[in-house]
């Protein structure tokens, strides 16, 4: 790729980027969120068309203006969000878009899929419907789909974000098998240890600019971080000791079922104390979302209790079985930053004021809305968290990810909660914004709030939190002191109960 530039409106997502990929190598594309990795790769796979620049394959200039062109050139991309049709089988998804001659023969295709699977070590049932599959199975379908098309260049966009460590290991093994077969792979990630583990070479992007590349064997975490952020970032997060911790939230034997009757949480018990950050670790889908939503009254509870100690009135009450409105009416001040910001936490088409109202619109009497107070809060959040927006009425949907999160966290903190729950609060944010969020959470903790932090990056969990609750397959597999434990111990706990839990 030479001199690739892509603009979105006035934003330059990629500026004159040069990137080389050799045959039979695994290249890591590293960069902070918003540095233009995915945009760049989308141009290789035909989703976007570059405004300027030229792509060469084997020194031949090629034009890639559609995903089909990309396939024709042997390029296949596995997107972060799987592009699969839910009501189709694996086979149907894999042959989708192919224009082979002759009749559509699903049996024949199924056979070839099994061959490919055996060659590289996948496990796949060609006739299984996608909506019955686990995340890692879906990813397998995506990869096989690309291989089925005879791709020589595979691009994987943050493939490990949704996988358990075991699944990640299996994926890396498959990647090496493909490499041996002469295929070239690009893996987009921002997990440094994975970069070091799997790739031969690392290319780094920063703010849409190509910074350079290094051979993996010549790199370490510190040097890569430096290149990525442009300056050395202290990995140290300020962590004061909890002050006067008292039980704030006691969860006992909490069990929940999903719509299909599958147990999502089983006999969860723990206590969250005031003035501490309780981290919740676990691979994606271990029940983190269900736990937070159950506490907030958004998920039906089958069994168990959630006892809340009200610091203002010194009374206790059970939250189980209450809906969010009843919890709010009971005077329980709980804040919840959900992982799906625009889909659950905010109203995309409204401005900051309208979104502040989401928590407070019931507070005044009468059938009409009070807009003054939310507007004041919006202005406060705007100033204090340095949200970049033209006005408090600018739709939050059109803000950048970091600013959206600031609005959401700002609103939740503005409620002056006694319990603050955050789910993946820094996912998708750049390092600076992430630190802003860490500092905000720590400040809340020092105010005596019980903070529950669900995270995915173990390094952060270990440095930010006071205690860690580890979930595995919907059960508590351990509670450890974050100051004394290490990654290995937590990593083991994350996979202990039941091991690989591919629940349907």
């Amino acid at each position: 790729m030479e001199g690739i530039t892509k603009r979105f409106g006035s934003v330059v997502a990629n500026n004159a980027i040069h990137l080389e990929l050799h045959e039979g190598e695994i290249l890591s594309l590293l960069g902070e969120n918003g540095s233009g990795k995915t945009t760049l790769m989308n141009m290789l796979s035909g989703i976007y068309y570059p405004d300027e620049g030229q792509i060469y394959i084997h020194d031949k200039p090629v034009t890639i203006s559609s995903p089909k062109d990309a396939f024709d050139n042997g390029i296949g991309m596995i997107h972060q969000h799987f592009k699969l049709v839910d009501v189709f089988t694996a086979t149907e998804n894999i042959i989708l878009g192919l224009n082979e001659d002759g009749k559509m023969n699903l049996k024949e295709a199924g056979k070839r899929i099994k061959e490919i699977s055996q060659k590289y070590g996948f496990e796949i049932d060609p006739d299984q419907k996608i909506y019955n599959m686990s995340v890692s199975q879906k990813q397998t379908v995506e990869i096989v789909k690309v291989l089925y098309r005879g791709a020589d260049i595979l691009i994987l966009d943050e493939p490990t974000a949704v996988l358990t460590p075991q699944e990640t290991d299996r994926l890396f093994a498959v990647m090496r098998n493909m490499q041996k077969d002469g295929k070239s792979l690009i893996i987009i990630t921002h997990k440094l240890h994975e970069v070091l583990e799997v790739s031969d070479r690392v290319a780094i992007l920063r703010k849409g600019e190509y910074i350079g590349d290094v051979l993996t064997k010549n790199a370490d975490q510190q040097s890569l971080t430096d290149m990525m952020v442009g300056r050395a970032v202290s990995l140290n997060i300020d962590r004061p000791l909890p002050v006067d911790p008292k039980p704030r939230l006691e969860v006992k034997d909490l069990t929940v079922h999903d719509e299909l009757g599958v147990k999502r949480l089983k006999d969860i018990s723990f206590t969250a104390y005031s003035g501490e950050i309780l981290g919740i670790a676990g691979v994606a889908g271990s029940g983190q979302r269900e736990l937070l939503e159950a506490i907030s009254g958004l998920y039906p509870i089958a069994k168990g209790s959630i006892i809340y100690h009200n610091p203002k009135t010194n009374t206790t009450g059970n939250l189980a079985g209450k809906d969010p409105l009843e919890i709010q009416k009971a005077g329980i001040s709980m804040a919840f930053v959900p992982e799906d910001r625009l889909g659950m936490g905010l109203v995309g088409s409204m401005g900051m004021t309208g979104n502040m109202m989401l928590r407070s619109w019931r507070n005044n009497k009468g059938p009409f809305l009070d807009k003054k107070e939310p507007e004041r809060v919006a202005n406060e959040v705007w100033k204090e968290l340095e949200v970049v927006t033209p006005s408090v009425d600018f739709p939050v949907r059109r803000m950048s990810g970091g600013n959206v999160q600031k609005v959401l966290v700002g609103r939740e903190i503005a409620q002056d909660p006694a319990v603050l729950m955050t789910a993946y609060a820094v996912r998708g944010l750049d390092i600076n914004t992430s630190y802003t969020i860490y500092n905000l959470l720590t400040a809340e903790k020092m105010k005596g709030v019980a903070v529950i932090y669900v995270g995915e990056d173990l390094d952060v969990l270990l440095e930010l939190c006071d205690r860690l609750l580890v979930l595995c397959g919907g059960q508590v597999s351990g509670v450890v002191d974050a100051r004394t434990t290490d990654k290995r111990e937590v990593g083991m706990l994350m996979t202990r109960v039941g091991g690989n839990t591919n629940e349907k």
Binding site: G9, V347, P367
Partner: protein, 363 residues
Amino acid sequence: MKNKAMFHIVKREALPWYQAWLIRGAAILLALVACSLVTVIVTGLNPLSLYKTMLYGTFGTNRKTWVLFQKLAILLGISLAVTPAFKMRFWNIGAEGQVMAGGLACAAVMITLGETIKSNAVMLLLMLVVSVAAGALWGFLPAFFKAHWNTNETLFTLMMNYIAIQLAAYFIIIWEVPKGSGKIGMINQSTRMGWLPYLGGKQYAIIILIVAILTILLHIYLKYSKHGYEIAVVGESERTARYAGIKVEWVIIRTMVLSGALCGFMGMLLVGGTDHTLSTDIVGGRGFTAVMVSWLAKFNPIVMVLTSFLLVFMQLGAKEVATNFYLNESFSEILTGIILFFIIGCEFFITYKIQFAKSGKEA
């Protein structure tokens, strides 16, 4: 290999409101030109005298102007009625049936109790309650199934339309006067029981007044009330609404009951206020037209006054042209269709812009 796209479609930054309205105005102008072209081809009339005829058809006489405003009020009223549901992204295309249900209930009261009840006020009150309830029921059913089982509301409300129409057809035959005519005729013509009162001697004044008040009330309801806020949040994302402690099922049902009830109310205005009879085409597709009026106005009740005026003006104007030139009355539907196509199409140019590819670089 495929040839490279000649242009790209890019989402615009927000357009200033006056520019957006400029585009819409231009579209309407273009549509009018297209309409006159069609008319000229069909009638050989010159465009200027065409619009003169249309103006005459709408404002030419006192009577015509009253009819214009009455039609405007009814269409606007139905459009207002469907709007809360649309703001919630509940695709209710069942206004036709909801109005019909209201009108049917209203006629039922007028016919069956016309002799028994002696006070017109009691009669009107009863008509109001019954037609609002009937419309509300027609709105409640699809909402109930949507809220609990996510049943597709567009298809549901569509079916409900024809159930209401067939039900009306059934009762029309039962009540027909004289037997075998297939028509009911003026209900309570001698006693005028259940007829809406004339304001200042004008038959339609009361309807126009009621709908004007309704417009303002609905504007306030949607923009400044807590219900309006709930509707907006539910329309954006159900999960966000649940997160904010909004009972989504309840809001969906409440809003659709409101929409249905308002439709039922419009049915009462139609039967009690203008037609004084019931027929299967009393709504005459206005339930569908209302969907377009509401959407074209971006669900803003005040703007709806303009969009419904435009459509009613075209309809009545085209009708006048049709009568003058011995054309079929369906001519107005053709012109309405053309206008709609232009306005529907122009929204694209408000949201997006087209960038032509710079040539040269890619070779």
